[in-house]
C-alpha cells in the first residue's frame, strides 16, 4: 500500500511536468527568451542579414538620450497616457455611477457604449481618419454647420495628438464603464439607502460614498488604462503614422519603425528596454497600491 502511494505520487509529478511542458516551452521560447534577448540586444549593434552582433556597450542608450524624435515620442506617450487615464476613466466613472444609481442601463445603450471597444482598433481608426479629414470629414462639416472654423485634425501637427487622444477616449470608454458598473454592483444598496435617509445629496453620495467604496476598481482602471495607453500603436499607425513631421509619434511606433523599417534592431532593442522599464514601474506601483486599497463590504 505504502509503495503504491509513493509510486502514484511519483507518477503524478511526472504528469505535472508533462502537463505544464507545452505552456512552458511555448512561453519560454516565444516570450521569455525573446524578452531576455531584447534586453541583451540593446547593448549590441545587430545586423540581421549577416547575423553579426557587435558589442557597443551603452552606445545605443547614449544615442537614445540625444534622439530628439525619441524624446518627442516619450513625451507624447506620457501626455497621451495622462489624458486617456484622466478623461476616459473620469467620464466612465461619472456616466456609470449616474446610470447605476437611477436606472438599469438597457441593452441598446450598453451596445452603443461597448461596440467601439470590441471593434478592431485599426478598422475604427480608419473610419475616424475619414471623420477627421479636414476637407470632407464629418467633424469639420459639423463645425462649419454651427459657424465655427474647421481644424486641421490629423493633418496638422498641432491637432494630431489631440485627434489620437479623442479617438482613444471613444474607444476605451465602454470597457471602463463595464468595469465600473461591475464594481458598483458590488456596493450594497443599503449604503445608498442610509445616505439618502440621512439627506445626502447626489454629489455628496458620489464623493463621500461611491468614490471611496469604488477605490479598488478605480485603482485597477487607472493602472490598466495606463499600461494600455503606454502601448499605444494601432491608432497612431492608422491615423497619423506618427506625423505630420513626427508630431504624434509614440514609443512603440518609434520602436516599430526603427526595427522593421530601418532594421536598426540594436537601437530598437534599447527603446524596448526603456519601454519595459516604463511598464515595470507602473506594474510595481500597481502591486504596491492594490495591496493597500482592499475594501471589505
Amino acid at each position: 500500500m505504502k509503495n503504491w502511494l509513493i509510486m502514484a505520487k511519483k507518477q503524478r509529478w511526472h504528469n505535472a511536468y508533462l502537463f505544464i511542458a507545452p505552456v512552458l516551452i511555448a512561453l519560454g521560447l516565444f516570450r521569455i527568451y525573446p524578452a531576455i534577448q531584447t534586453l541583451v540586444f540593446s547593448f549590441f549593434k545587430v545586423n540581421i542579414v549577416s547575423r553579426k552582433y557587435t558589442w557597443v556597450a551603452l552606445k545605443n542608450f547614449s544615442l537614445l538620450l540625444e534622439d530628439l524624435t525619441f524624446r518627442r515620442a516619450l513625451s507624447n506617450t506620457f501626455v497621451y497616457a495622462f489624458y486617456i487615464v484622466l478623461m476616459s476613466a473620469l467620464i466612465a466613472l461619472v456616466l456609470s455611477s449616474l446610470f447605476s444609481s437611477k436606472m438599469k442601463l438597457g441593452d441598446v445603450y450598453k451596445a452603443a457604449y461597448f461596440v467601439p471597444f470590441i471593434t478592431s482598433t485599426v478598422a475604427a481608426a480608419v473610419v475616424w481618419s475619414y471623420l477627421y479629414d479636414p476637407r470632407f470629414g464629418l467633424f469639420n462639416m459639423i463645425l462649419k454647420l454651427v459657424g465655427l472654423p474647421g481644424r486641421g485634425w490629423i493633418a496638422s501637427s498641432r491637432d494630431a495628438m489631440l485627434s489620437v487622444i479623442i479617438f482613444s477616449i471613444w474607444k476605451t470608454l465602454g470597457y471602463n464603464m463595464v468595469i465600473f458598473l461591475a464594481g458598483l454592483q458590488n456596493i450594497p444598496d443599503m449604503y445608498y439607502e442610509a445616505a439618502t435617509i440621512d439627506g445626502a445629496g447626489p454629489l455628496t453620495i458620489f464623493f463621500r460614498l461611491t468614490v471611496p467604496l469604488l477605490a479598488p476598481t478605480i485603482v485597477f482602471v487607472v493602472i490598466y488604462n495606463t499600461i494600455l495607453a503606454l502601448k499605444v500603436f494601432d491608432q497612431v499607425f492608422v491615423l497619423t503614422s506618427g506625423g505630420p513631421a513626427k508630431a504624434s509619434t509614440t514609443v512603440v511606433l518609434e520602436l516599430y519603425e526603427m526595427a522593421f523599417l530601418h532594421y536598426r534592431f540594436g537601437y530598437a532593442a534599447s527603446m524596448a528596454f526603456v519601454f519595459f522599464i516604463m511598464i515595470l514601474v507602473v506594474t510595481v506601483i500597481q502591486y504596491a497600491i492594490s495591496s493597500k486599497w482592499e475594501v471589505q463590504y
Binding site: V23, Q37, L98, A112
Partner: protein, 278 residues
C-alpha cells in the same frame, strides 16, 4: 405635484437625455461609416452633408471588393483566431490542472515564470522575436503569426483558479475508479469548467481577431493578411476614395458587430468577471 417631485422628474429627464446623447455620439462614427458606404460619390463632397444615402448605391462595395480580397482576410483571421483560441484553451486546461491539483518541485517558480510573461508585452519582445522567427524561416507564414500566442498565461491562470475551487473528492473518486489523468482532465474537469473556458475563449478570440502589431510585423504577402492588416493597407494615403474606404470598413466590422450583439450579455459578463484582456 410638489417641488421636490418636479426637480426629481427634471433630473431623470436630464439623465435620460445625457444617456441618449452620449449613446448617439458613441454610435455616430459607425452610422456615418454605413451612410457613406451607400452614398453616391458626388454626395460625399457636398455641403451641408447628406445624413441619409440619397439615392443609395452599391458602387463603393463593388469597388472595395474588387480592390481587396476581403473573403481571404476573413478566412485568415478566422484561421488565426480559432487556432489561437483552441491551443490556448487546451494548453491552459492542462497546465491549469497541473498547477491546481499536483504538488511538485519548483511549482511556485514555474507558475510565477508563466505569469511573468504577462508583464513583458509583445512590444518589447517583438524585436528579437522577429529575428528568432526569421532564423526558423517562419516570417510570412501562418506559423509565424501564431507562434507567440500559442499559449497564454492568462488562460493558465484562470483555469488554475477555477479548478482549484472545485471539490478534490471528484478527482479522487475518478482516480479510485481507475481513470487516467488525461481522461480526468477531458471527461470530468473540462465539462465542469465549460463556462470559464467559454469566457477565456471569447476574450482570446476578440484579442486575436483585433490583433495588429505582431501580424503587421510578420506578414509581408497579401495572401496571409488578417482583417486588421488588410484594412490598414487598404487605406492608401495617396489615393483616397472615402466611399470605398467606408465600404471596406463596413465589410470588415459589421459582421463582428452583429455577432457581438447576439452575445452581448455574455461578453459583458465575461469581461466584468475576468477584468483583464490579454
Amino acid at each position: 405635484m410638489t417641488l421636490a417631485r418636479v426637480s426629481r422628474m427634471t433630473g431623470r429627464i436630464l439623465l435620460h437625455i445625457s444617456i441618449v446623447t452620449f449613446g448617439i455620439l458613441m454610435i455616430m462614427p459607425f452610422y456615418w461609416m454605413i451612410v457613406t458606404s451607400f452614398q453616391i460619390p458626388q454626395n460625399l463632397i457636398t455641403f451641408p452633408p447628406k445624413w441619409w444615402p440619397q439615392p443609395p448605391t452599391l458602387e463603393h462595395f463593388k469597388e472595395a471588393t474588387q480592390q481587396a480580397p476581403f473573403l481571404l482576410y476573413y478566412r485568415n483571421s478566422l484561421i488565426v483566431a480559432n487556432i489561437h483560441v483552441f491551443s490556448c484553451i487546451l494548453l491552459g486546461l492542462l497546465a491549469g490542472y497541473a498547477f491546481a491539483v499536483y504538488r511538485f518541485p519548483l511549482q511556485g517558480f514555474f507558475f510565477v515564470l508563466i505569469l511573468s510573461t504577462l508583464m513583458v508585452p509583445i512590444q518589447v519582445t517583438s524585436v528579437s522575436l522577429y529575428i528568432l522567427m526569421s532564423r526558423f524561416g517562419w516570417i510570412d507564414t501562418f506559423t509565424g503569426i501564431l507562434a507567440p500566442d500559442i499559449a497564454s498565461a492568462f488562460s493558465v491562470f484562470f483555469m488554475r483558479q477555477t479548478i482549484k475551487s472545485m471539490p478534490k473528492a471528484l478527482i479522487d473518486a475518478a482516480r479510485i475508479d481507475g481513470a487516467g489523468e488525461l481522461r480526468i482532465v477531458f471527461t470530468i474537469i473540462a465539462p465542469l469548467v465549460k463556462s470559464v473556458m467559454a469566457t477565456i475563449a471569447l476574450i482570446l478570440f476578440i484579442n486575436s481577431w483585433n490583433d495588429f502589431l505582431w501580424p503587421v510585423i510578420v506578414i509581408n504577402s497579401e495572401r496571409l493578411r488578417t482583417l486588421p492588416v488588410g484594412i490598414a493597407f487598404f487605406k492608401d494615403p495617396f489615393h483616397i476614395n472615402f466611399g470605398s474606404l467606408m465600404a471596406a470598413t463596413t465589410i470588415a466590422t459589421m459582421p463582428m458587430i452583429f455577432v457581438y450583439l447576439f452575445l452581448q450579455r455574455f461578453v459583458i459578463k465575461g469581461i466584468a468577471t475576468s477584468g483583464l484582456k490579454f
